[in-house]
Amino acid sequence: MPPHLPFSDPAAVASALAGEGYLADDRIAQVVFLSARLDKPVLAEGPAGVGKTELAKAVAAALGRPLVRLQCYEGLDESKALYEWNYRKQLLRLQADQGREWAEVEADIFTEDFLLTRPLLEAIRSPEPVVLLIDEVDRLEVETEALLLEVLSDFQVSIPELGTIRAATTPFVVLTSNNTRELSEALKRRCLFLHIGYPSIERERDILLARVPGLQPALADRVARLVATIRGKAVRKPPSVSESIDWVRTLVALGIGDPDRASVEQTLHVLLKHQSDIDRVARELASSGG
């Protein structure tokens, strides 16, 4: 298999990811496949805790590439995302070089020796291909989003003193967003859009089985159905996949093989994080009417 075509078809993606413990549904596998073929970043959007970040980690593991991660937050700027000049080292150099011509010194201190690479530049300069994860991109301010554009579309970074640094190898880029705000059109245009919602009952059951060792299939099935039911209710924060995994672990630890109403009510706090939600679900499970 040539190195620039890592997957032969979507099914190969799915099985490679499954090998890393990530169960992708058809759509996820297909988008990852397309992304590898078109060299376009994947923008994974969806509620918290459905495995967006896990997807990037699994892709990195499946491809055997290192993962470079950029965690976004409000106030992130280019010195944290792209690169920064190592001022202290430059100063030391200037002091050591006293008496030399300025032009000479200038050419000297603005070289790669004095450059501190940050995740984006690091991903691009890496001699071996990497997987670049830009996590929670919706936390960036709109202005900062623009930082990403050059990297995402052309895989290059312009540094005024050094010129443009092009990617030696094309990184596989995954961006994640919890959709707390709308991303700019410019960013969205450069990406393949992948909406990851809550999994189907069957897929959630398989995820539970894969993640919780020693779990009885019957219990996994039961939990998956219960969680799907609870998500269908009007709760403030629907339970995520990671929370349903926690719940199953709780049930297994308590030795509950077949949860009935009482045991469900006692452990609901693992699944739901708002008291009003817990009360509401407990109330609705108690009433048998539609």
């Binding site: 297909q30 397309l34 073929r37 202005e143 709308e182 859009f193 992948l194 108690a286």
Partner: protein, 474 residues
């Protein structure tokens, strides 16, 4: 390729923004996929053309219309083969063999749903549509009509009862409750399958353009706030927050850019003394804070409650853009409800508390705008200052009570501006008991605001200092 451009056109018609680059991406993506696989094509187009989760339903609808023919073509040997196997599957278990009648069909459906047998359920939905929908070629009817005809013949409620009985492993209320949810879920899947099958046949009959047109549904931000269904409301609800954040960022940036005010001649000249009278360092006045005070008067009677709710939600989500926000709710009298929307308050909960705890009902619980404005003038006049922007939301239907335009006029006179947002279509204003025209005379502006897009546009206009109207005298 030409088919792709037609599809992109359809998406744009619905209102999904598709750029040229994205269309090219879609074409490139299609080169890498197996075009015979419907799901693969759908993913390829979805990932390249649609960049927002709220546009996905519209995309699905359009995709269904345009790509539903990627199956066996009617009349081909393949289709005939499928018909035979469908009939066999349905007939076999029911013990009829060959031509299955309606009972056998329902029976087969029951087995399919009970065992979660996708193949059999598919066969049943195809057969059900063939027999029960009675699709007439060329008739310009939407899919909903045929769906109704099919489902009318199959008693889904009875089927659900039976399913619940079979699915519940033990007695117990809790078990019953779970089985009920499960049964509903499976029946919903079947309904979906029937709908898809009907669309497939309609497309085969009338072509994708015509079907897509009848299936078109507005995007979430264009949904009518007053007549929205429960599902629609949930979708709107989910959109409010991201939308307001986007709006707030944009406003904050514009305000920052507009920071520099007019030249301050006095200070510039004084500074220039140190440079021999050359004004090298011009000084500017700091512009006055443009953030207005907001007072909302919202009619929360049944007819327009949802609208009031979204207006308040948007304004509160953006309260950082205003100096101070106070809100008052009324039905036939008025009360302050600002405190119900404290930090972190759940919006639905707040609305419920307003209904039970705030004194918004005086006599009979029918909107009385006149009395509400009178009461406001008496009790809350201090909340209005020349810096206050007043927003009234409601349909101006007074139930034939006295409108008391003068009271609203006094409120308007004390405020910087008074806007009225009416969720009714403009053509219904001043019909029946609506007195919009009378109130409009004392309002600075009256807006028809029927969906989220218009609402966001209005809030932006109020928050931005540049578009501030000058208060007229008198």
């Amino acid at each position: 390729m030409e088919f792709l451009t037609r599809f992109v056109d359809e998406l744009r018609q619905v209102g999904i923004p598709v750029s040229m680059v994205e269309a090219i991406d879609a074409a490139q993506a299609l080169e890498h996929v197996d075009v015979a696989s419907r799901s693969m094509v759908k993913t390829a187009l979805g990932a390249t053309l649609v960049k927002s989760a709220r546009n996905l339903p519209a995309f699905e609808t359009a995709f269904e219309a345009y790509f539903s023919l990627l199956g066996p073509t009617p009349g081909s040997a393949e289709a005939a083969e499928r018909l035979r196997s469908d009939l066999a599957a349905i007939g076999e278990g029911a013990g009829v063999g060959g031509a299955a009648d309606l009972d056998a069909l329902v029976e087969a459906l029951f087995r399919a749903l009970r065992d979660g047998d996708q193949g059999l359920a598919g066969a049943v939905s195809r057969q059900a549509v063939s027999r029960l929908a009675g699709i007439e070629p060329g008739r310009p009817v939407g899919g909903a009509y045929y769906l109704y005809r099919v489902l009318r013949s199959i008693d889904l409620a009875a089927l659900e009862e039976r399913l619940v009985g079979e699915l519940a492993p033990g007695p117990g209320e809790f078990e019953h409750r779970l089985a009920q949810d499960e049964a509903q879920r499976r029946i919903e899947e079947f309904r979906e399958a029937v709908r898809a099958e009907i669309h497939r046949r309609l497309v085969a009959d009338r072509g994708p353009e015509a079907v897509a047109r009848t299936m078109r549904r507005p995007l979430v931000e264009d949904l009518d706030l007053v007549s929205a269904t429960r599902d629609d409301l949930a979708a709107i609800e989910a959109l409010v927050h991201p939308l307001t954040r986007k709006l707030a960022t944009r406003l904050a940036r514009r305000r920052r850019l507009g920071r520099i005010g007019r030249l301050d001649v006095r200070r510039t000249v004084r500074r220039s003394l140190s440079t021999g009278g050359v004004p090298v360092d011009p000084r500017f006045r700091r512009p006055r804070s443009g953030r207005p005070d907001i007072v909302i008067l919202a009619d929360i009677s049944g007819s327009v409650a949802t609208f009031a709710r979204f207006t308040m939600q948007v304004v509160f989500a953006m309260s950082a853009q205003f100096r101070r926000v106070r809100s008052f709710a009324f039905i036939d009298t008025i009360d302050e409800v600002t405190d119900f929307f404290g930090a972190g308050a759940d919006f639905a909960e707040a609305m419920r508390r307003i209904g039970s705890e705030a004194g918004v009902v005086w006599l009979d619980g029918h909107s009385d705008y006149g009395n509400a404005f009178l009461t406001f003038r008496e009790r809350f006049a201090e909340s209005i200052s020349p810096k206050t922007t007043v927003i009234v939301t409601g349909d101006a239907r007074t139930n034939y009570h006295s409108p008391n335009v003068a009271a609203l006029g006094d409120i308007a006179a004390g405020a910087r501006a008074l806007y009225w947002l009416n969720p009714e279509a403009r053509r219904y204003w001043d019909t029946g008991d609506s007195v919009m025209g009378a109130y409009a005379a004392v309002c600075d502006e009256v807006h028809e605001v029927r969906n989220l897009r218009q609402l966001a546009g209005f809030v932006e206009q109020v928050a931005l200092p540049v578009s501030r109207p000058v208060r007229r005298l008198g």
